[in-house]
Symmetry: C2
Subunit: 327 residues, 2 copies
DNA sequence: GCGGACTATGAAAACGTTTTCACAGCACCT
DNA sequence: AGGTGCTGTGAAAACGTTTTCATAGTCCGC
């Protein structure tokens, strides 16, 4: 049943070494190469990747660890990473932490045990802080989130600028009681918060900051509470797509229409954001670019291990829609 | 640098066999087990999974091959499959074919080479037709899509009933010029189409069927064309979430509101479907159940290889919303 | 007190490849 | 003619585990 390289070698009348070379890149005469290929077809041979990896000590595998695969931002980035891996002849292991530090640790351990070539990782803040390069035998590139400076290569959005851009836009549209609801688990949400805060103060406005687990349900609950309070904000900034969705739900449930009842502006130009109500104003992230750059950094580091740590900062693009129209 | 089981054995003053047994389930005295664990901690040993798999001939890995990870239906199913795999102590390899037969073949080959324990697969119609059990050394469970009867275990929606249910609902709401737009690549879309056709005829109505690549852009283009024709349908049935999204876009672009301009009903209760306009009527699929059942079938077959092929058929649930309100 | 059954352990084989090493054959240079 | 260097090939080692096999020790029933 299980046909191995020995069987192919026997069928082709050559040694296993020759079969290996014919299938790989070793020097083999044209005649033998054809014999081997015929034998492979005849026997239906499929190489055993575990054996190959064990012997050649090259996993040809990259790991991708994301926080939440339901978040379209991460699925889009995954596609880009997958394409790059595929083009480089590498396999991809995709893992999902659900923003859970324990699962992050589990999957990082798994990557070590798989002896992967490299890893692209979107860590929670807690994990990012204790990520030490010397603990890993492979290059680790952070995306979306970032750790302490100088640790690992990374590619992130210019979150301070993006947070500020949303404030500037809302102020320009005539809003002033602008609240900000940010995810609690990522450095990215923190930076967006800081950009928001700085811009508010620059405009002479008082920041109103709240924090929530970055998922739709908790966000909806928090926004519902907020909108029920006296002196509730005229406008809200939401730090990612899931939180934005929760906010839309809460506004809808409170009977507030956009932007009259409350204005909303968020992150991630997800496919549905232009379909709801008057259209949602968002900062679009260059998702494909993020994935591609991450793989670029990874391959560069594999080629030149000693080079200084690099951090690529990409700019978002404001897409103004009806949810923040002038009051 | 690379610490192996030999190093642990030396540090603990035992043989490699004992280390292996202490880490696995073999019989080892308590004293030695503790010595070994201490040595593991001291050396920072991480087992090499390639070596382990090669020797033990148990990959402890299941493969999941889906058509399009951007489709929330598949991401939801993935979560369920991942949870089940995780609970069974297995790793998951997730692959994305983009409805491309060539990539399907590539990934199936990869699964063979990885010597996976089993595979869960949502094949295109073309691939499903030529899928022969004897070509695979592992159990293969089909989800969402299905192949010729008796081939592989599978779990699918009752698509005929679901297609018919949408027709019944629309007729009940007073629509009669009801068109159906179905994906071109899956058996599932075909079944939904047949359910639609049968129900239409049962109501004495003429089916109007069109077919499109199951993605938002092609669907939008096709619906735009359709809605511009004379005698255009009053209502449309869309065979999955991406096609539904394209239809919403096209209706919006044509200046038609829902359900006055055109009524829409589709598949997959995606998170955004209740947010757009008057809410979209959909058939909700039991996504978690589908994933869980698929893994159940897989494990059953691993346990009892000889048992007859089973096909689990689950029912969808109609969620009526404003997009099909009575005219 | 002795044989038999069981337990814990170590030495060595085995998993299926790739890679190293040795060498035969041949062309080329002096 | 005799190195020298290159090319293609096979035998065997190597990758890091788990598993088989053998063995020494212990317990138990008679």
């Amino acid at each position: 049943m299980a046909v191995g390289i020995r069987d192919v070698a026997r069928a082709a009348g050559v040694s296993t070494a020759t079969v290996s070379r014919a299938l790989g890149k070793g020097p083999v005469s044209e005649a033998l190469r054809e014999q081997v290929e015929a034998a492979v077809r005849a026997t239906g041979y499929r190489p055993n990747l575990s054996a190959r990896r064990l012997r050649s000590q090259a996993a040809q595998t990259i790991g991708l660890i994301v926080a939440d695969i339901r978040n379209p931002f991460f699925t889009a980035v995954s596609r880009a990473v997958e394409d790059a891996a595929y083009q480089a002849g590498m396999r991809l292991i995709l893992c999902n932490t659900g923003e859970d530090a324990e699962r992050e640790a589990l999957y990082l351990r798994l990557m070590q045990e798989e002896r992967v070539t490299g890893v692209v990782f979107a860590p929670t803040r807690r994990t990012a802080e204790r990520l030490r390069p010397e603990d890993f035998a492979f290059p680790l590139v952070l995306i979306d989130r970032t750790g302490p400076p100088g640790g690992h290569d990374g590619v992130v959005l210019d979150n301070l600028a993006a947070g500020a851009a949303l404030v500037d836009h809302l102020v320009e549209q005539g809003f002033s009681r602008i609240g900000g609801l940010f995810g609690s688990t990522s450095s990215t949400a923190e930076e967006r918060r800081d950009g928001y805060g700085a811009a508010m103060r620059r405009h002479g406005l008082e920041p109103r900051i709240r924090t929530v687990l970055p998922d739709a349900e908790p966000a909806e609950a928090e926004v519902a509470r907020w909108l029920a309070e006296p002196g509730r904000p005229e406008a809200l900034i939401l730090s990612n797509g899931l939180i934005l969705m929760g906010a839309v739900r809460a506004a809808r449930a409170a009977g507030l229409d956009l932007p009259g009842g409350v204005a909303l502006a968020g992150f991630d130009n997800e496919p549905w954001t232009d379909l709801v109500a008057p259209g949602l104003t968002v900062i679009e992230q260059p998702v494909a670019e993020i994935g591609a750059q991450a793989m670029g950094l990874l391959f560069d580091r594999l080629k030149t291990p000693g080079q200084p740590v690099r951090k690529v900062v990409l700019s978002g693009r404001l897409i103004a829609r009806g949810s923040t129209a002038r009051r």
